[in-house]
Point group: C2
Chain length 360, copies 2
């Protein structure tokens, strides 16, 4: 079952070529390639053998060969040449990444957009909380006599807030008491632990501002749930249509419709412990609908135990080397950005116009 050097060369050439052209590759064009020092007949023999080994396929008798899923697998595992990012590319990647990341969840959607743009394929991005989210700290500010600002910071250092408009007659002192009670009773509790009993206890000891407690608790559980739920952002769906294998609208729709939270929610388990970029070829895939596509995913770390996954979805015939390289570079630098403390920009920092809703 071992392949000769020449067979490897042929297989690699076929995959490379097919990735570029999306057309079955014939023996003639291969023979004409530089570095192939044999005739088309020889190539044909090798091809026949590779086909027999299940690494190539023939759409029909008188067509060239295309790689089979197994062929792709071998290619990405052993044959693929590393793609070197050009200087231009790293520059434009760096430029794209120069985003002002003020809110974590906005970052995820931005990231997804950028990945899609730079790979020219639909992109998927999601967060995955490593540990159960809890609240680390509550603050309550008085905005006016009947409106208050609730500030909640979670253990992953995400901060959420809410304006509470409620006619409550209370002083700054009362608010201090309330937040003290909240901080004492509700911090470090996962969403499930916030039971009616706890709520009752809080309400009883909350003093004059007690009427705010329900709203606060409701908001808190909402925030915690939101943190826990791994949101999946899909961007650039239309990019898939650019690929010749998805000119058929129905096919594209089938694939894209399976790109939702459900599909990816069982993925992280296998992927999160492996830091390297993963390539799932066709049938190896997570969802049945994706059996004719490939998914390339990689992990990146955000501060404080939060992790994210970014990846792209495309035809099995995608440029794995290039996509992998770009994705890894991206993930790496993204992680670095997050671990960096405060960017410390001068306030006159130029403000790149970041088209918000652009998903072209």
């Amino acid at each position: 079952m071992e392949l000769t050097e020449r067979q490897k060369k042929v297989l690699r050439a076929i995959v490379d070529n097919y990735i570029q052209t999306a057309e079955p590759v014939g023996s003639k064009v291969l023979a004409a390639m530089p570095g192939m020092d044999c005739s088309s007949a020889t190539i044909r023999n090798e091809m026949a053998e590779l086909t027999q080994k299940g690494l190539l396929e023939q759409p029909h008798t008188s067509a060239g060969r295309i790689p089979s899923p197994a062929g792709y697998r071998l290619y990405v595992d052993e044959l693929m040449q590393d793609y070197r990012l050009s200087v231009d590319e790293t520059q434009s990647l760096n430029q794209a990444m120069e985003l002002k990341m003020q809110e974590v969840d906005k970052v995820i959607s931005q990231v997804s957009k950028m990945v899609s743009k730079m790979t020219n394929l639909p992109a998927v991005a999601m967060t995955a909380a490593a540990n159960a989210p809890t609240v680390q700290r509550f603050d309550i500010l008085m905005a006016s006599s009947n409106s208050f600002i609730l500030v909640v910071m979670t253990n992953s250092e995400t901060i959420k807030n809410k304006l509470i408009k409620l006619p409550v007659n209370c002083t700054e002192q009362d608010l201090k008491l309330l937040s003290a009670v909240l901080n004492a009773s509700l911090t470090d509790l996962p969403a499930e632990a916030i039971t009616p009993e706890v709520l009752n206890k809080v309400t009883r000891s909350a003093g004059p501002a007690a009427s705010m407690v329900p709203v606060i608790v409701d908001f808190t559980t909402h925030v915690l749930q939101e943190q826990q739920r791994s949101e999946v952002y899909v961007t650039g769906q239309m990019k898939l249509l650019g690929q010749p294998e998805y000119r058929d609208v129905d096919k594209a729709q089938e694939v894209l419709s399976s790109l939702d939270s459900d599909t990816f929610s069982n993925l992280p388990a296998t992927l999160l412990d492996n830091a390297k970029t993963q390539i799932l070829v066709g049938p190896e895939n997570i969802a049945r609908e994706l059996k004719d596509t490939s998914v390339v995913m990689t992990r990146f770390d955000i501060g404080d135990g939060m992790q994210g996954l970014i990846g792209v979805v495309g035809p099995t015939r995608m440029d794995y080397a290039q996509v992998t390289a770009r994705l890894s570079y991206f993930a790496e630098n993204l992680g670095r950005m997050f671990s960096r403390p405060e960017p410390q920009l001068p306030p006159s920092a130029h403000d790149k116009d970041q088209e918000p809703g652009d998903e072209s």
Copy 2:
């Protein structure tokens, strides 16, 4: 140029039928319709006249008729029958709208998703700040010895925050001073008015915590700019492919690629002062690329002078009546929800699972 009653009836029937079938309508099927008390020959005569008046078109000599843009215009202005939402529909709309709206900008994207889902067409949603955004209030909380929470509330009552990690040696008192200075100098200023001079002045009087000022100001201008910029969220692009006229991928792509901020940024001026739902048929459209599509847009109000636009994009042959009805209902109720003070839900409120990244 006036139309007879029967001509109107014929035109309406043609548009209605074409909206359903996307096929040219022939005289025979029209004659067979209930309520048409004349033969196909008579209909043919009327059709010829309507064609001559520019309200109908013929794809080729031996095909039925389809409405021209002018025909659609007349239809939506005068002929269209109001679409009555069924009980089922209002229920599912209400259910869809029962979202926990914790953050304004998340709402917009949610809204866009919902509209897309319920019209089965690509949806566009954007906010439009009525007046120049300013900061109304600053707060700074100490999270730990070297991290601080900055809370900024704008005049539209949006609250943004940021965790500042910076080794600053200062007391609660120093923070009080800093926030007092910020509140005194930077509130009610639009982004442009925050000049280096102002910044300098603030830094000088900020006391021991002065080193935080650049970060704070940077964040503030960022927030203000973000508020001002009208973000355009486009969702459900793939829905367009469900429409027979966009089975051709290239056409769909052309349309969808023009759905970005730029296209819609010059729209509000004409639309924002008119509260009713607007229908832009084909060539009347904002962008040249949209000349074969129609856009239905409507306005909704969020509290405190903020406004939003939601709309859908689809083939000229879309079900205007239905889309308009759903959109209006949606906009109306959305506005109502925002003007309501605090929902005051019990904390045990059931939590509808709101699939986040689903754009199928």
